[in-house]
């Protein structure tokens, strides 16, 4: 049949094309290749890849785009036969996890002129495994057209997001999905205390429109006007603005500036090229790239800010950015998975129940305003307490035995852990669901009295 | 709806076209109440189209179709109350036999008890009472045919239409089924029209038939009349084996006489009004004998040679070369009769009383 031979010819040319693709380029002093697993968007990675390849023409940089969580998973799954050289992402805790698994190797930066701290956060890993190359802080971004159309005020601080006026207009990612979101959650918990911090998060979450699966889902939703306000890391807000979207961004008072990091993977096949990439990142040339409007990250070299546009925030001068909380890295690390799980159980997976309870409370409070009714006030307070309640106290959360349920790694067959995560979560879920339902009933009861 | 007694079907100047292709041209027919009527013709003659037009399928025809006194020309199929049995039987494979038969009654919103009674009666009628819960695929071809019949007659249609009802059955079953259908038709006293391409089927079953070709009715009449006195060459040829000689007619002494180019001549019993035409005579009306053995009065002898002999059981068929023609002669076979061998010189005897003249 002549059409089948035609098919064969087409396929043949594909195979030929494949062979050509596989042909290797020439080599130089460094290795000829560098494989970087990164969570950063193409706007950022593309600029660095291009500049680095221009400086070292013999090296071909492969940017392997994975979401932070998937990147960690990827490195873990592939560790037995590693092909990646570097991990390049925002969240320091993702690096902590990899460090804990022995998947990173130490590196000593040769470049000078980089301070120890950005905001209240140490720029580099004290153990020397991963290096900060840019600062970033969490804040609130909003869509100007959206808040104008819905007649909403522009927010200034976290507590604003809990106001009834924003009900159904806020978006955020889940800490289990996004390392940087985790930091924001943890920052508020550390800044306000465990109980109060969670209560505030749940008051805000009661206004959520959605919990996005990816951290980029939040700026994406605000940019398209799907929801009006979002809890995002600064460069999402700033780069969206720079791309022309009608959005604005603000740093609230309680935030922390955290470094975005890079590390060399253990057993990296191209260690020399990896070292050169880190040095390039820390150099004046590399740091200046961060000022690009599509990238918009805070350089870790104070000398770069002279070249920045006028309105560019400078954390080394403006001490109000990110200095309010002294971030406790060890505390954060110990309860990392537990906080993630708690957030998901209380907020992500029970968003509908939480929203309904919050709406009922907001309605009751609106009805109460200007009147005095002690009984109604008592019911509302009780409802609020139920919504805010956390199934575990801080001491338990920090108890290494309890936290182990959430991060157990049975290295040996003899290792034993008591309790199963699914069991604990099911218990929490039962409690949380009942609390939200009760709170809703109480608030409705209070409203009916008014 | 139920009219008392059988109804007539009248077809008045019906034309049907598929796009630009004419399928039926100027068809007019009157089918009597209770009559068993056949549409006979080769494939593509339009016989199925005509049947389908009566049922309401296919393009809306020009002209009129009347069932009883009702003009149904533009009525959709489901409002005609005309029962049709399809060539493929079209039994629904997803329903049991019983459900198939009950379908039409359900569509007519008959009460459940009544449906049960009538379905039982219909299955009884076709001898399939035991098979109600089977699926069509579990039945033989003949049984499927009976289900299709039962399904159609159970709704008591005004007219029964059968599209090639026997074509999917094997020879033995066909003969049996032929009688069964006839018996059923008599019992129900239903005006019935059936389509076939097999003249034997038409001959044995129908009271009258219409022969169609190229979308035009060639002749209408009782089977024997059509066979013996075909109106044209097509009918003559289609209804059975025919010897046809073309030539000219001349009137001599008040009688017509036929003559063809090769010199064959014969007298014709009546006066032919046209000059050129043909004569037709069927093989079984001829005689064959040795040359010069004498003839009965009036028989026209045609000398020739036996080209080949076929033994067909009850008859022996000779192909005899007469001049440039080959004339087929059927001699009935009786044990011990002499059979002429190939190349034997013979004389074929034609009885002018059995010769049909046809216009060109």
């Amino acid at each position: 049949m002549n059409h089948s031979s035609r098919v064969l010819r087409v396929v043949g040319s594909w195979i030929l094309a494949a062979g050509l693709l596989g042909a290797a380029p020439l080599t130089q002093a460094l290795e000829d290749k560098l494989v970087v697993v990164t969570s950063f968007p193409k706007d950022l990675t593309g600029a660095f890849k291009a500049a680095f390849e221009k400086k070292y023409p013999g090296v071909k940089v492969e940017m392997l785009k994975k979401k932070t969580t998937a990147g960690v998973k990827y490195l873990q799954e592939t560790a037995s036969n590693n092909t990646s050289d570097m991990f390049w992402a925002s969240a320091p805790d993702a690096f902590e996890v990899l460090k804990g698994d022995g998947l990173l190797q130490k590196y000593q930066v040769k470049a000078t002129g980089i301070p120890d701290m950005i905001g209240a956060y140490p720029i580099n890993d004290p153990d020397g495994y991963y290096k900060g190359f840019a600062g970033a802080g969490y804040g609130i971004m909003w869509n100007e057209r959206y808040i104008k159309a819905k007649k909403l005020p522009a927010p200034r601080d976290w507590s604003d997001l809990a106001k009834p006026v924003y009900h159904g207009h806020v978006g955020m990612s889940a800490p289990s999905r996004s390392g940087t979101t985790h930091l924001t959650v943890e920052t508020l918990l550390q800044g306000q205390g465990w109980e109060k911090g969670w209560a505030e998060w749940k008051a805000i979450a009661g206004n959520f429109n959605t919990v996005t699966e990816r951290s980029f889902g939040v700026p994406d939703g605000v940019n398209s006007g799907q929801f009006g306000l979002g809890v995002v890391i600064d460069f999402f807000g700033l780069s969206s603005q720079a791309s022309g979207f009608p959005v604005d961004f603000v740093y609230p008072s309680v935030t922390t500036l955290v470094p975005a990091n890079i590390a060399i993977v253990a057993n990296a096949p191209h260690p020399e090229a990896a070292g050169a990439f880190i040095e390039f990142l820390m150099s004046l040339q590399g740091q200046e790239l961060l000022l690009n409007p599509k990238i918009r990250r805070l350089p870790v070299r104070p000398d770069i800010y002279g070249k920045a546009p006028a309105d560019f925030p400078n954390p080394f001068k403006d001490k109000s950015i990110g200095a309010a909380v002294k971030f406790d890295v060890v505390k954060s690390k110990n309860r990392y998975n537990l906080v993630n799980s708690l957030f998901d159980v209380m907020i992500t997976y029970r968003l509908d129940d939480l929203r309904a309870a919050t709406k009922a409370i907001q309605d009751a409070e609106a009805a109460l305003s200007g009147k005095s009714n002690a009984e109604a006030q008592r019911l509302i307070d009780e409802a609020k307490a139920l919504v805010g309640a956390v199934p575990v106290d801080e001491a338990t959360a920090l108890d290494p035995d309890f936290a182990a349920v959430f991060k157990k790694k049975r290295k040996k067959a003899t290792d034993k852990v008591t309790g199963r995560q699914a069991e604990v979560e099911a218990e929490w879920d039962k409690l949380v669901k009942a609390n939200y339902a009760k709170a809703k009933t109480l608030a409705e009861q209070a409203k009916s009295m008014l | 709806m139920a009219e008392r007694g059988p109804v007539s079907v009248r077809i008045e100047d019906v034309h049907v076209s598929f796009g630009r292709t004419r399928v039926l041209t100027g068809v007019s027919l009157h089918i009597e109440p209770g009559e068993f009527f056949a549409f006979l013709g080769p494939s593509g003659s339009g016989k199925s189209t005509l049947l389908r037009a009566i049922a309401g399928f296919g393009p809306t025809p020009a002209g009129r179709i009347l069932i009883g006194d009702q003009d149904v020309t533009t009525l959709p199929p489901w409002k005609r109350n005309v029962g049709m049995v399809f060539q493929s039987y079209a039994l629904w494979p997803h329903m049991t036999v019983r459900k198939n038969v009950a379908f039409g009654l359900e569509e007519r919103k008959v009460a459940a008890a009544e449906i049960r009674r009538r379905v039982d009666a219909a299955l009884e009628l076709v001898g399939l009472s035991e098979f109600g819960e089977r699926r069509p695929a579990q039945l033989s071809g003949g049984q499927q045919q009976r289900v299709a019949l039962a399904r159609t007659v159970v709704v008591e249609p005004r007219v029964l239409l059968l599209d090639e009802p026997l074509s999917n059955l094997d020879a033995n079953l066909r003969v049996q089924m032929r009688r069964d259908i006839l018996e059923l038709q008599r019992k129900l006293a239903l005006t019935t029209i059936f389509v076939t391409h097999d003249q034997e089927e038409a001959n044995t079953m129908s009271d009258r038939m219409a022969v169609l070709n190229d979308g035009v009715i060639q002749q209408v009449g009782v089977p024997m009349q059509l066979y013996d006195r075909p109106a044209n060459l097509f009918v003559a040829d289609f209804l059975g084996t025919a010897n046809v000689l073309e030539g000219r007619f001349a009137v001599e002494h008040g009688r017509s006489r036929f003559r063809d180019e090769s010199g064959i001549e014969m007298p014709i019993n009546d006066v032919v009004k046209y000059e050129s035409g043909a004569v037709m005579f069927r093989p079984q009306n001829l005689t064959i004998q040795s040359p010069g053995s004498g003839h009965a009065a009036g028989i026209v002898p045609l000398p020739g040679t036996v080209q080949y002999v076929e033994f067909l059981g009850s008859i022996v068929r000779y192909a005899v070369a007469v001049g440039p023609h080959v004339i087929l002669v059927d001699a009935s076979h009786r044990q011990g009769d002499r059979v002429f061998p190939q190349d034997a010189a013979v004389e074929v005897g034609v009885d002018p009383a059995c010769v049909i003249t046809l216009a060109q």
């Binding site: 089948s4 035609r6 968007p41 669901k433 | 489901w78 049709m84 399809f86 629904w92 494979p93």
Partner: protein, 569 residues
């Protein structure tokens, strides 16, 4: 049944090779993933305690019912879209039928997550439609809220499965079936409900069960719409969370696989013994009738309205790719070609990779599909049905599970000469795609084989051809239409697959188009270029599909011509 006395090893050898392939690339990787579900997380001992936990957790029960609800509702909505389209194309003579056949399958060739982005912009709470509705009537319809959004996106994406299968089934119905019912007084909807639809049921069930399975397992769409409380997202979220080694993700995977297999089995049972549409004699296909003018207008209105809805992802994507900024407005602020200019330089590698991967995967699929179809339907090998079950079982494996399974199984396997793990060699992506699409190609090949009369084979063998030469010279050429149809389905759907590939891409230079789009879509400035890349993907796959169609049609015409010539001599 033909005997294999002359070539006792051949077919068995092929069967064993195919069995080994499926074992290594389907069974073992999946087993590697699911076995965690049967381990006690504390001791590592085999246990079912994780399944007890699953059913004790209200969130999981809820997720299970949500997944079930979404899958069933998607089947309902997809049927509502597909049924009128299938009915119009098979029942009436009008040009809209060609429109449906051409445009109706396009939704399949768009990566679902890209569709979700576009749908959100058009139908979201503050999407174009709702902004207009709000302006005109002051109302807001929650098309995209929660499960609604998933149902809408999934039905629009997968309804072609029903359309294709149902149209084929309707075309196979003997028209006398319909006429005899009319003759007995049935018409209109009753006729459709009582006769036409039940007869088309096998085709409908085949399509609907595919939709059900795909939706039940689909991950990308709920994730993109931020719907978490469904099974597939729950499995994915748990498997891919940092540092969590919770077995629940794997438990959910097992439940997904088991339930999908159950659904597959149910549809198999439902269809058994009902493949009757094709065995009837007589005129094939429903009666086609011409439409009156007002009917034609009505039919066009229905068709155009439906096509507008099903092509809305493409409309949205087109706007996005040519738009500058599209934010809380009915349409983009302005239009530009910049997005295309930006991607044009970077696409060639993605395109080459996509063509290579999808092309090779589809080629593997039709070769294996033909072989399995032949072994199962034309030989008497013991256990041959298992090849069919195994290959079809791939339908029930979520892409993520397969992806993780491959990483687990093949990371320690070195490719000879290349000095890299098999799991990071691009060929593994091809294998994953081939395994995932094999069921489609297999169905097409089985259908094609069933239309080749055994007598044709016997005639070739009688004339001295060996089994293999018979297959090569007689069977395969006669099956070529079906084989190419299988190739197209595999190719087009593999070209837009993301769920398995995203786990397996280990170098940007190995990445296919859908991965490229995904990467672009992760930044504010990349949305336009990502959409442009998406449009390029749709056009390329569309053109490739169209060209293959032409090849089939040409082949058919050539064969018809040859037959006519042979008949003339």
């Amino acid at each position: 049944m033909t005997t294999f006395a002359r070539t006792p090893f051949g077919p068995a050898g092929v069967a064993i090779l195919l069995g080994v392939f499926l074992l290594v690339f389907l069974v073992i990787p999946v087993a590697k993933v699911v076995f965690v579900a049967f381990q006690d997380p504390n001791t590592g001992a085999p246990t079912l305690v994780n399944f007890v936990d699953f059913f004790n957790t209200s969130l999981f029960r809820e997720s299970f019912f949500n997944s079930l609800y979404v899958a069933l509702m998607s089947v309902v909505v997809a049927s509502v879209i597909a049924m009128p389209l299938a009915y119009f194309t098979t029942r009436f003579n009008f040009n809209g039928a060609i429109l449906i056949q051409t445009l109706g399958v396009i939704p399949l060739i768009m990566p679902p997550f890209v569709g979700a982005v576009a749908m959100q912009l058009l139908f979201g709470t503050n999407g174009s439609i709702n902004l207009l509705l709000d302006e005109w009537f002051g109302i807001n319809i929650p098309f995209m809220e929660g499960l609604n959004g998933v149902i809408l996106v999934e039905s629009i994406h997968y309804f072609p499965f029903i359309l294709i299968n149902l149209s084929a089934a309707l075309n196979n119905i003997d028209r006398a079936m319909e006429e005899s019912a009319q003759n007995l007084g049935a018409s209109g909807l009753r006729l459709f409900r009582r006769i036409v639809f039940p007869l088309a049921m096998p085709g409908y069930v085949a399509g609907a069960s595919l939709v059900f399975l795909k939706v039940f397992d689909d991950l990308g769409t709920p994730l993109l719409l931020n719907v978490n409380n469904m099974l597939a997202p729950q499995a994915y979220l748990r498997i891919s969370s940092i540092g969590i080694s919770d077995p629940m993700g794997y438990v959910i995977s097992v439940i997904l696989v088991l339930f999908s297999l159950f659904a597959l089995w149910t549809s198999f049972l439902a269809m058994r013994g009902k493949e009757y549409a094709t065995v009837q004699k007589g005129g094939g296909g429903l009666m086609k009738r011409d439409l009156r003018v007002w009917e034609k207008a009505g039919a066009y209105a229905v068709v155009i309205f439906t096509l507008l809805i099903v092509l809305s992802p493409h409309i949205g994507l087109t706007l996005l790719s040519f738009g500058t900024i599209w934010s809380f407005s009915v349409l983009p602020d302005a239009y530009t070609l910049a997005n295309y200019q930006e991607v044009i330089g970077t696409t060639s590698e993605y395109i080459t990779n996509t063509m290579l991967y999808a092309g090779l995967a589809a080629l593997i699929d039709v070769v294996f599909g033909t072989a399995i179809a032949y072994l199962v339907w034309r030989t008497g090998l013991v256990g041959r049905q298992w090849l069919d079950y195994l290959a079809t079982g791939a339908l029930a494996i979520p892409g993520v599970v397969l992806g993780i399974g491959y990483l687990r199984t093949f990371y320690d396997v070195e490719v000879p000469f290349l000095d890299k793990p098999l799991a990071s060699w691009w060929v593994i992506i091809v294998v994953a795609l081939a395994v995932r699409r094999l069921p489609y190609a297999l169905r097409a090949c089985v259908a094609a084989l069933q239309q080749v009369a055994v007598a044709l084979e016997e005639a070739a063998e009688n004339l001295g051809a060996t089994k293999f030469r018979t297959v090569k010279r007689v069977v395969v050429p006669l099956m070529s239409g079906g084989i190419i149809a299988g190739f197209i389905t595999s190719f087009a759907t593999a070209a837009v697959e993301l769920s398995a590939t995203i786990m397996l891409v280990s170098a940007e230079s190995d990445a296919p188009l859908s991965y490229g789009i995904y990467v672009f879509m992760q930044s504010a400035a990349g949305r336009g270029p990502g959409a442009a890349l998406g449009m390029i993907a749709v056009i390329i796959v569309g053109v490739a599909t169209y060209l293959s169609h032409r090849v089939i049609e040409r082949g058919k015409r050539e064969r018809a011509l040859e037959a006519a010539l042979a008949g003339g001599v």
